[in-house]
Symmetry: C2
Subunit: 421 residues, 2 copies
């Protein structure tokens, strides 16, 4: 079985390296010799540690008849979509690690692929076989919810903030120094990377054809030491969760920093590690943990797809042979999300303020579950108030926050996080 690698960066090099290092095992498991024969690169002058042909002419490669599997590791969206479409037209198998490509074009690609194998295990949670788990391992289940820590950068930052009390920008800088965060961190810390991955998981679970712009995405940039204090004091940790949840009114898809009870299994996942908790109506809760990034872990997933193709893959790409069973599932409007909320308000420390706030809340159907005011966060004539709510409607909470923003006793932009019980 002959493999072309389109984009020979960190992951591409590791795919080639592991195919050689574990060649005997892989051949015994797959029944075929799997060999990288050509790689496409942008810059042929850059030194690379590979022992196969390299070219910068991608068109000459995708038209070759002697290649059985094309591994797309180029990155981007429109360019790989064009390339992969060409390959699928020629009925050649594709394996990709490109979550952005799938976040936008997974249904178009599935239609084009038809019976042609299309692997994308590496697109979510790196080396954790979470695509296979949802598509095959848990196929008997009506999936109730998915909760994922699927951005290692955010989990590293939040773990450091919770553990050492460090502030966001200091930890971000350290993460950048360690190579855990990009120079421009927005895609990670803003929740967009996790959102791309969530959309892929949501298709496997619910057949939902949503795009990033359709769903709720919030990042971790505004979390401060007061939030960390509250979380620790009330038995929570803070995680950026990507959540897909089936409710009576539709499917919730959302990415945001979340307060999670410390004794929940997913709250125990620290540092750059990823984990996905899935609740099925038969199996109950299961959780999958491992490295969500890194060349070798991602290559592990890429190669598992190639081996599946060698063995004769037989699962429908997005988990459904027919969409009829899930066609009635609709994405729930962001405003209709129902959950528990945490609200932090920096206010003037004077008579009447708390009464005004609690009045505004109760007038807008926000019922308070717990409240904290502590001298630790007194600041001159200012103080910080912390609230958690009973189950509330997203639109109601946002409306109250907008009303509060206009009060003269509110001194900072109100801050809100959602809570998973």
């Amino acid at each position: 079985m002959r493999v072309a690698i389109l984009g020979v960066g960190t992951v591409g090099e590791q795919v080639a390296k592991i195919l050689i290092q574990n060649a005997e095992l892989i051949s015994a498991r797959s029944g075929k010799n799997i060999t990288p024969v050509v790689g496409v690169v942008r810059n042929l002058n850059k030194k690379r540690d590979v022992n196969f042909e390299l070219t910068d002419d991608i068109n000459s490669v995708i038209s070759r008849d002697d290649i059985d599997v094309f591994v797309e590791l180029m990155g981007g969206v429109d360019e790989p979509y064009k390339i992969v479409s060409e390959i699928l037209k020629r009925k050649k198998a594709v394996v990709t690690a490109n979550k952005a490509l799938l976040a936008y074009y997974r249904y178009e690609l599935a239609n084009m692929a038809g019976e042609t194998p299309f692997g994308f295990e590496a697109s979510v949670a790196g080396g954790i076989p979470i695509i296979k788990t949802l598509r095959e391992g848990l196929s008997a289940n009506d999936i109730q919810s998915i909760k994922g820590i699927i951005n290692g950068t955010c989990n590293y930052i939040l773990t450091s903030m919770m553990r050492d009390g460090a502030n966001f920008s200091d930890v971000l800088k350290k993460a950048q120094d360690l190579g855990y965060a990009e120079a421009d961190p927005t895609f990670d810390v803003g929740g967009f990377d996790a959102a791309h991955k969530l959309l892929i998981l949501a298709s496997l679970a619910y057949g939902i054809n949503a795009r990033p712009e359709d769903i709720l995405i919030e990042g971790i940039e505004r979390i401060n030491d007061a939030d960390i204090y509250f979380a620790n004091d009330f038995g929570y940790t803070i995680k950026l969760l990507a959540i897909a949840k089936k409710t009576a009114n539709g499917v919730e898809l959302r990415v945001h920093p979340t307060l999670v009870p410390k004794d929940h299994m997913i709250a125990k996942v620290d540092g750059v590690m990823n984990a996905v908790s899935i609740v099925g109506n038969a199996v109950g809760e299961t959780m999958y943990y491992g490295a969500g990034a890194g060349g070798a872990a991602t290559a592990s997933a890429v190669i598992s797809d190639i081996i599946d193709i060698a063995r004769g893959i037989s699962s429908p790409m997005l988990g459904y042979k027919t969409q009829n069973a899930v066609s009635e599932l609709k994405l729930l409007d962001k405003d209709e999300i129902l959950t528990h909320y945490y609200i932090r308000l920096k206010v003037e420390d004077r008579l009447g303020v708390l009464a005004c706030i609690t009045n505004l809340m109760s007038q807008n159907s926000i019922s308070i579950d717990s409240f904290l005011q502590t001298p630790n966060f007194d600041d001159g004539d200012m103080t910080t108030l912390f609230f958690t709510t009973h189950t509330s409607r997203e639109a109601d909470v946002k409306h109250v926050l907008a009303l509060l923003r206009d009060q003269e006793f509110i001194k900072d932009e109100p801050f809100m996080m959602r809570i998973e019980q």
Copy 2:
């Protein structure tokens, strides 16, 4: 697709129930309608909540031509082996949850099955798709180690002992009352159930054809309050681990209570839950967590196998198309295991005893890593000594324990546990 259920107990009833409850989803995912049409039971008079034909004549069922998949849920070893062999001779697909059958006959069954689908996802760790993960999800990896909490009874008991300081027999009784432990608990608390499951995982990882009698199996019955005290004091928790490990000298397969550092992910798995940590040379460590038993969780795994068959399963039953890549892997002799040890000795509290013990250890290549003696465990003129060792050879440790047993200052049977760092 027509399914026969051989053995309609808790799991069988759940298989039928979930096939009906999730029928639309399962049909969309598999492309086929999957219907239970007949069940075999021992006692036809017992009331069962199923809406298909029941019979007590198994031979009439296994010879039927209109059945596509036979689900074996009878339990036992020799009887199901005979029945399943008959079914495979007729080239009919088999799905089983029977770990004992596989612990003894997996290679014979794989040979008989050939290209006929044979699913056994439910045989290890209930609803966690760990068979699929090892066979497919991590197929690119040279597996370095597997560490599993794969007996919920033991994990429930050990969690209660660690958390509440309760003693073994009290917690066992409570587990029996709650239905987590059998009236005769030996199979679970003695480590035999976990050993059966470990042998299945070891075949997928290493192609090792071992039987229960070939491997090291120790139970949790002798763990006492002193061990719990030591574990807590030194930052460990105690878990019954099933371990498969590739070493330079062979593959270690062993089941025993183990001291595990509390910050390790698998140490955080509490109560009746199961988890399996797998280290691959590409992916690093991944961990899989969920319910290891229970009718619905087990049925989830059984049905995922049936759906794979409907989709056209294509993976080799035990993970290898050819065994040549792993044929040189040999089971390491129990005596040659190298690990860290914990030793508890109840001794007379007098001059010279410690010197004698440490001399015996050093003369037999046992190097002490830490030592504890505390007034908490003084008992008249007796006290308890706790040791941990640097990496030692199993045979050396056993030899020292045999020598110690003969010393007149030793008052109780010496107790040893292994440590995973």
